[in-house]
């Protein structure tokens, strides 16, 4: 299956189940969870279903485009269902079938895997979903986000897009994956993931392992924190949250270079978390105020019924 087919099918499936189809957030981040659609969406009491693709960067995983399995940047498909529906596992399984995975001939298991993001002050419990021995998804019931209890609890489903595609195609190299087909007057040809991304992998790996200016990144980290605190003081939690995301990525760049000592590490993570938690708190306060002002919240909840059940 082509990567774009997989994405389109997942989007269609979850839209039909009553999810908004969101877009990637235009800042560097390590995982789809960091997108505000999830971070803020999982907070507060309002029902919220959303699905979107998120390109996720992990500088330490960069392999210069030479490792057939590991890359600096990969694609996650992220689904948030709040509150988690009673048949959430069945829904997930249905989505696999929508991708053409015939479970009557495959082995599917849910194995314990609890998720935690110290930089976001978030954690949850759940599973890695294992298909014929391969982890294809992460399934999490959020318990806390931004240091606040999630009530109601969201279910988060994360699909590893490249992995699932490789697995379905039986391919041994991520860069051989077909991304999609380009049709022109002269004919059509398939573009591979390698054509799309291999050079990018090389350059970004080289950047994070060799060329990134560490002093600059340390300075940036401080500057983003200062900026974030300033915005939070104004009550601008969305702007402040962007600064927290930038801090997180800057930290990852430094970490990939081994520039963060073990003793230094918890302190740095805490600074990002403090800002993220501040944003979460400000968001919830803002929402509570807004919902006491508006009158027909229960009404909108009733209308939403039927989705993702």
């Amino acid at each position: 299956m082509q990567i774009q087919d997989l994405i389109l099918k997942l989007q269609r499936f979850w839209a039909d189940k009553g999810c908004l189809i969101g877009q990637p957030y235009d800042l560097e981040k390590g995982a789809g969870t960091m997108n505000p659609l999830t971070f803020f969406g999982a907070l507060g009491s309002k029902p919220w279903n959303v699905a979107y693709v998120e390109p996720s960067r992990r500088p330490a995983d960069g392999r210069y485009g030479e490792n057939p399995f590991r890359v600096y940047k990969h694609l996650q498909f992220q689904v948030i269902l709040k509150p988690s529906p009673a048949k959430v596992q069945e829904l997930y399984i249905e989505s696999l079938e929508a991708l053409g995975i015939d479970l009557s001939i495959h082995d599917l298991r849910f194995e314990e895997d609890n998720w935690e993001s110290p930089t976001l002050g978030a954690w949850g419990v759940g599973w890695q979903v294992v298909l014929d021995g391969m982890e294809i998804s992460q399934f999490t019931y959020f318990q806390q986000v931004g240091g606040l209890d999630c009530r109601p609890v969201s279910a988060e489903l994360t699909y590893g897009i490249e992995r699932i595609c490789m697995f379905l195609g039986g391919l041994d190299n991520i860069f051989d994956l077909p991304y999609g087909t380009v049709k022109t007057d002269a004919g059509e040809h398939t573009i591979t993931y390698g054509q799309m991304r291999q050079r990018e992998e090389f350059e970004l790996s080289a950047y994070s392992f060799e060329h990134a200016d560490l002093d600059l990144h340390r300075t940036l980290f401080e500057a983003y924190e200062k900026e974030g605190k300033k915005l939070l003081a104004l009550g601008h939690f969305r702007g402040a949250y962007e600064q927290a995301l930038k801090m997180s990525h800057t930290f990852n760049v430094l970490d990939a270079r081994g520039a963060v000592s073990t003793t230094e590490r918890p302190g740095i993570i805490k600074r990002v978390r403090d800002l993220a938690c501040g944003c979460a708190k400000a968001y919830v306060e803002h929402e509570e105020k807004a919902s006491t002002d508006s009158t027909d919240f229960t009404d909108s909840k009733a209308k939403q019924g039927g989705g993702a059940k």
Binding site: P85, L103, S104, I105, D107, F110, G133, Y141, V153, T262
Partner: protein, 679 residues
């Protein structure tokens, strides 16, 4: 005796983490015992926890005695008072049934009634009790889901609860109990309705029909059998791993082993790497051939009864290849630079905040290893080299990926570099024993390096006040200490421990937060406990252990010899008498300071003269066994002595001689054992 019916409860959940299944099953069974007095049999699979047992139809009647006000307040002039009548009314009996008795603890006769509470139907009680018992289960990592505040290990999706053929009605977090449950997911691709269980006796068969073997024991046995068979089909045997087998039986609902293959060129990797990689990443077993070498096959479990198109096999093979590709990449990358080039990078790796980096630790362990090796007359240059390189593999990619391969990889890399055999072997095995069941280092140098490394950890932590107490031992110092004692004990290295403690503490130097004496005292008592445990593990009787250990452990080999000798007399009744006399001697000498020398001629009684003769023989004997035989002979004369004489005689000369005699006898005992602690 009323009729019995079978009780059955099943909680059908989303996949419960494997590690919690058994504890939850056992805890709930215990809760049922506490509430109903019968122990249910538990069964579990990833999505199911169930319990079943016969229970009486009705709970037994309960008779209670109720005590009321004193008689004088209940009866006046032969007539009941208002208070008396109220008491009878309270318990629903006519006043004529009120008796007056003086119960224990009361100063005067009081009103007493016997009230019979009729036993209630068990089904009713179950319905009342179960929601609380379920909610009350202790869940180590509890979660919430949906919009509810209810917490459990994973979401409960349905509840089956029967008492005989009847449903026990209750609700937990909005889930109502019933007589239905769900089978394997594959089964429900064809069947949209839940399966009905008419009576508890049908439960296992109904689930089996729906694709689930609910008994853990049954699944495990089946997996074990399949493993053996599939391994023998390729002329090999499974590399056993009981823990992995348990895990597999806990993560599948139906037991099925799949055998897959991997490219033979991965066999170039060290066996430990393959075994660890297969186990950690793929929950798979390795297969070894008759020559003990690994074969290019693996075995793992699937959560379905078959593999109709071979996808389960090929899928697992695909993932495994990716994993081994990674392992081979690490193995090749790591060997691009000699192991010792990582030494400097150990400076950035904290061992413990107060005790510095692994580089600091390496320097201490080097010094300590050389000192201990010197005691055993080993090659000191090898000792120093092994200690210097021991921790370098912590900075390799492979150990970064598989922390449990620490030591093993260092050894492997050194072997590839052509390091001397004693050096690479010592590095490879210096983490052994990692636990009570783990093997000990095989080589002398490996044993010494292991002792030095662990002793530095223990002495270091004690020096900065990190001393295990009660159940708190986050740094696993007791395990490290036990490992040291086991190695010394098995190797018969008697005097190494006492000699090394001071050296190890000195090695901590200025990093120590506590005075040396205090640390040494704490270490001495810590190791005494470890040695006591070692004696217990070696199977010596309690009296032998106590009596022998009380005379010190500065020489472990001698301690072992004394325990062996004492064990030969464990059943000897004369030793009981000897023990009584030894206690008496201890009491007599408590506040005395007798001199070693005494005037034999001052002794008068024949019984004490006999003792003096025995003493001479005892003091001339060096062998423990002979000494004990002579001590056994001494039991009767000693008892006779205590019968015949007053030790603390008025004559100061006689008294001094008797005290000295006893003192010298005791000194002779104490060479083997403190008999006052016998029995």
């Amino acid at each position: 005796m009323s009729e019995t019916r079978t009780f059955l409860l099943e909680l059908h959940c989303e996949e419960v983490p494997a590690r919690f299944l058994k504890p939850l099953s056992e805890e709930f069974a215990a809760a049922i015992v506490a509430a109903f007095g019968v122990e249910p049999e538990g069964a579990y699979s990833p999505r199911k926890l169930s319990w079943s047992c016969p229970m009486p139809e009705m709970q037994a009647d309960q008779t209670d005695t109720q005590i009321g006000p004193p008689q004088r307040m209940c009866v006046e002039d032969g007539k009941p008072t208002i208070q008396g009548l109220k008491f009878a009314e309270k318990w629903g009996v006519p006043f004529s049934e009120v008796r007056f008795e003086q119960s224990a603890g009361k100063k005067e006769p009081c009103a007493v009634v016997t009230v019979t509470k009729q036993g209630r139907p068990t089904k009713e009680l179950l319905a009342e009790a179960l929601p609380g018992l379920i909610a009350g289960l202790h869940v180590p990592k509890a979660m919430r889901w949906g919009s509810s505040d209810f917490e459990f290990v994973r979401p409960i999706r349905s509840i089956l609860c029967l008492f005989g053929e009847e449903v026990v009605d209750f609700t937990v977090d909005g889930v109502k109990s019933g007589n239905t449950t769900w089978g394997h997911r594959l089964f429900h691709r064809q069947h949209s309705e839940p399966i009905v269980v008419k009576q508890p006796e049908d439960y296992e068969a109904a689930l089996a029909k729906a694709g689930i073997v609910v008994s853990f024991v049954e699944r495990k046995a089946s997996l074990a059998k399949q493993l053996d068979q599939l391994a023998s089909e390729v002329k090999g045997r499974v590399v056993a791993d009981e823990h992995l087998l348990d895990t597999l039986a806990e993560i599948v609902e139906v037991p099925k082993i799949i055998r897959g293959d991997f490219p033979a060129d991965f066999l170039e990797l060290p066996a430990e790497v393959l075994i660890t990689s297969l186990k950690e990443h793929q929950k798979a077993f390795c297969i070894e051939g008759p020559d003990g070498k690994l074969l290019p096959h693996f075995l793992t479990a699937a959560n379905r009864a078959d593999d109709p198109k071979g996808f389960v096999k090929s899928g697992n093979e695909w993932v495994l290849k990716a994993r081994l590709y990674d392992a081979r990449f690490f193995f090749a990358e790591d060997r691009k630079h000699k192991l010792e080039t990582r030494l400097d990078a150990l400076k950035q790796l904290t061992f413990q905040r107060e005790l510095g980096s692994y580089f600091d630790k390496t320097e201490r362990v080097m010094a300590l290893t050389v000192r201990i090796a010197d005691l055993g007359g080993l090659d000191l240059s090898h000792a120093q080299e092994a200690a210097r390189l021991a921790k370098c593999d912590l900075r390799t990619l492979m150990v970064g990926e598989f922390p449990e391969l620490q030591g093993v990889m260092g050894g492997e890399y050194l072997k590839h570099e052509g390091a001397p055999e004693p050096v690479w072997k010592a590095v490879k095995e210096h983490y052994q024993p990692a636990g009570a069941d783990d093997a000990l280092p095989e080589t002398d140098l490996g044993a010494i390096l292991s002792i030095a490394d662990k002793l530095d950890t223990v002495a270091g932590c004690f020096s900065v006040g990190l001393i295990p107490s009660g159940s708190k031992d986050p740094l696993a110092l007791r395990r490290a200490g036990q490992g040291i004692v086991r190695i010394l004990w098995e190797r018969g290295w008697g005097k190494h421990l006492e000699a090394s403690l001071g050296i190890a503490v000195d090695g901590i130097g200025t990093r120590a937060a506590k005075p040396k004496d205090e640390t040494l005292n704490a270490l001495t008592s810590f190791f005494q406990d470890r040695i006591a445990y070692q004696l217990e593990q070696a199977g010596y009787a309690g009296s032998v252990r106590r009596a022998a250990l009380a005379c010190g452990w500065s020489d472990l080999r001698d301690l072992k010899a004394r325990c062996e000798a004492l064990s030969g007399f464990a059943e000897d009744l004369r030793f009981a008498s000897l023990a009584a006399s030894a206690k008496r001697i201890g009491n007599i000498l408590k506040d005395e300071s007798p001199s070693d020398a005494f005037d034999q001629s001052a002794l008068q009684d024949p019984s004490e003269k006999t003792l003096a003769a025995h003493l001479a023989k005892l003091e001339a004997t060096s062998d423990h066994k002979t000494l004990l035989a002579e001590l056994a002979e001494l039991a009767a004369p000693l008892a006779a002595f205590f019968d015949a004489v007053m030790v603390k005689a008025d004559d100061p000369k006689l008294r001094a001689a008797r005290l000295s005699l006893l003192h010298r006898l005791r000194q002779a005992f104490l060479r083997v054992a403190d008999f006052s602690l016998w029995q």
